[in-house]
Subunit: 444 residues, 2 copies
């Protein structure tokens, strides 16, 4: 019998003690061998830890053992004296006096990718095939720190606005978004699905907490392999009650983006620098009606409108270009999508029910958000279901909230990986997904 009481004094230093706090003198640090440059009489040994890299110097005679016994991928505990050294990439250098091997990679096994290079210059296919290793590259891991920053910024902002965080089920009996892109599941003899969105549940929870959010996986059985679709992605969802219109939702998103980018600038400065990212301005975001946007780009770029009820990806790109050129904005809200293109829970515009009180947010010409006002009235919701040939009895649990009262409400869903992709100017959403799932990719 023993007691666990809590942290004891650490007997090692962190690399951040040196790089960020400027510690010099005797140190003991652990880390993974990132590179070895053997110069004969001495060798440079670069260690990798979560905070960055630190250069160590192995000098024949000052330390026991042989540098030839070391290899990339080993984890070690080293002792030495750290001092400032302008020529070292990080401005500090550790003169080694002792080294102890904590773990070793498999003997005779080469790294499949040059992860210690600044840019790996490897195809996306190869990077994804060796994801467990390629993520160890300094730039690759900066990508997912930025993504962490976005999700933190989102949550912190939501909490500051009195939203409650919820966790809704991913195994569901019915789906909100409709269509064929649903994963089916055998559930104890019943048919079940993977949730395409938390839509029913987040609306439900508005009746409980007024304002709710969730950042969680959603699943879409999209059969087409494109540069912007994933079969599993992270959706940043929020839903808010007591709105005066769907504009309140767009305002909330604008403020959220502003907060999040400011947070990234402060807390993820290092990673923004590693990836050389300039954050976009979000002091004001243009908002344009769907039908007007189509006309604008048709006229400016001399492009025929083929389908008045849908936006083609190329049109999205052109709308993005238009507002960049005319208003220097990377973002644009497109509002009032046609009713037939929106789900049954979307509120129609009372002044013209062919359109909905809804919006998408485009970022550098790509849709990253879909949102809008929802129907809160029982009769109106049932009527819209019936008009679409749906049976309200299939939605008894969802309709329970309308039956027993709901405030006017609306919300949105943001694709985290797409937002990250556009922020980092990547060309494929798989670049900003830790372990992407697509039609041909189920591993790693």
């Amino acid at each position: 019998m023993d007691f666990i009481t809590g942290f004891r004094k650490k007997d090692t230093h962190e690399i951040s003690d040196i790089l960020e706090s400027g510690f010099t003198g005797n140190v003991k640090i652990n880390g993974m061998i990132h590179t070895i440059r053997d110069m004969g009489e001495f060798a440079f040994l670069v260690l990798r830890k979560r905070e960055g890299l630190i250069q160590c110097v192995w000098e024949e005679g000052k330390i026991n053992g042989c540098v030839k016994d070391l290899k990339e991928g080993m984890t070690v505990l080293v002792e030495g004296i750290v001092h400032q050294e302008e020529r070292a990439p990080q401005g500090f250098e550790v003169l080694l006096s002792d080294i102890q091997i904590l773990s070793s990679p498999l003997d005779g096994c080469m790294m499949p990718l040059p992860i210690s290079k600044w840019k790996m210059k490897t195809s996306l296919e190869t990077k994804l095939a060796y994801r467990p290793v390629s993520l160890r590259n300094i730039r690759e891991r900066a990508v997912f720190k930025i993504q962490e920053g976005i999700i933190r910024g989102f949550r912190d902002f939501m909490f500051s606005q009195q939203f409650t965080e919820i966790r809704t089920p991913k195994i569901v009996a019915g789906n909100a978004e409709g269509g064929a892109n649903v994963f089916k599941l055998e559930y104890f003899g019943k048919k079940a699905f993977l949730a395409q969105s938390p839509q029913f549940y987040k609306q439900t929870m508005v009746g409980v907490y007024d304002r709710v959010f969730e950042a969680a996986p959603v699943f879409r059985a999209e059969k087409h392999n494109t540069t912007r679709h994933l079969n599993e992605y992270t959706s940043l969802d929020f839903e808010m009650g007591y709105i005066n219109g769907f504009e309140d939702v767009m305002v909330m998103e604008t403020e959220m983006l502003r907060y999040t980018f400011a947070f990234l600038e402060k807390a993820y400065e290092k990673e923004l620098k590693i990836l050389d990212i300039t954050l976009p301005k979000v002091d004001k975001i243009p908002s344009v009606r769907f039908d007007a946007a189509k006309v604008m780009v048709s006229e400016k770029y001399n492009r025929k409108i083929r389908n008045p009820y849908d936006l083609e990806p190329e049109e999205e790109t052109l709308i993005g270009r238009y507002f960049k050129e005319e208003y220097d904005s990377d973002f644009v809200f497109v509002t009032h999508y046609p009713s037939k293109k929106r789900p049954f829970y979307a509120m129609d515009d009372p002044t013209d029910p062919k359109f909905t009180l809804s919006f998408d947010l485009l970022f550098k010409g790509m849709e990253i958000t879909t949102g809008g006002q929802r129907i809160h009235d029982y009769g109106e919701q049932v009527k819209k279901m019936e008009a679409r040939g749906m049976n309200p009895e299939d939605f008894t649990n969802f309709l329970m909230i309308h039956k027993h009262g709901m405030p006017p409400h609306g919300g949105l869903g943001i694709g985290l990986e797409r937002l990250t992709m556009k922020l980092l100017d990547e060309q494929n959403v798989r670049e900003t997904t830790l372990f992407p799932r697509d039609v041909s990719r189920l591993e790693p």
Copy 2:
């Protein structure tokens, strides 16, 4: 074309402006009608918002309209004068001068449950069947605020310890925990599964960021309906590199619990009071070997040891009772579980390979955490797989990390709903799950 620029000055007050900041005078507030008590000449109207309840007084002649037109579940915008009133349950009262109906529930439809009662005194079955409505009860919603607080405390602590937050796939090709309790899925003609845990991925990410965590859903196709099993639950996972032993993981968990309970005490004081919860002490947590714990309870409670290699639920309860009685501790770490009861990635104790370098954390007699040190050496991992009749070639992606080097590491997974259940002294884990999934429950 328009611009979205950000928040404008609000034209309504929040209930918290009154209840927490003591605002008095003319107010305009919105909310849902929680109860109406019609006294004839006047009526009490209690509004519900996320922050709590506020009592309004409807006095004949001072306001237009008829109180009979109002009903529970309506959302309204009211105007009036707020003043301190000792006899009002919240210490404040609004004398109404105007009321506007924002939305109405379905006509002639009664609330299926007395949600405005302090305690609903309804069976769990009924509460779950009407979950979208029953959650509107003040005590019910406090439960899930506490749960939000736990997850926030967990994350904040992890960030303070330089852990990186990750998002790992829930659709997977193979599973770490083994056994039959896996949900199967058709994935574009391939066989896929729902992740039982993020185990492979969190170990993988230790090679990238040293320390990682995730709070996300996991899926277990458990066929038995018990008071402590769910088929989908939230797992709080962390995994850390450069450990000296699995004790480092237990220390981290102890510190996390301490931080989280302190955070709850500060930020969720209101909800703790609503539910009358006393937080447990976590200044030190006893730690006892699996085999020793079995002997201890066998001797003290005169109970025969039937299976030396497993803990029966009743034994867990008795171990919890033992440490409460002997050491006044609600928590106890049970360490060194038998190897045959732990997954293939668990590190065996070199001094006795029949046991593992692992632990469970029991809270009031129930397992809420499983953790331990993992194998980091390629040869050792392959050998253990082979000894279990597994084919290492089925685990090429996982073994990639061992092949290319991993620090000594370990971690754990905490069942969020179970932790909440024991903290709130509930008897069924469904009480602390928003929308539980079990063998017979796929809705709401």
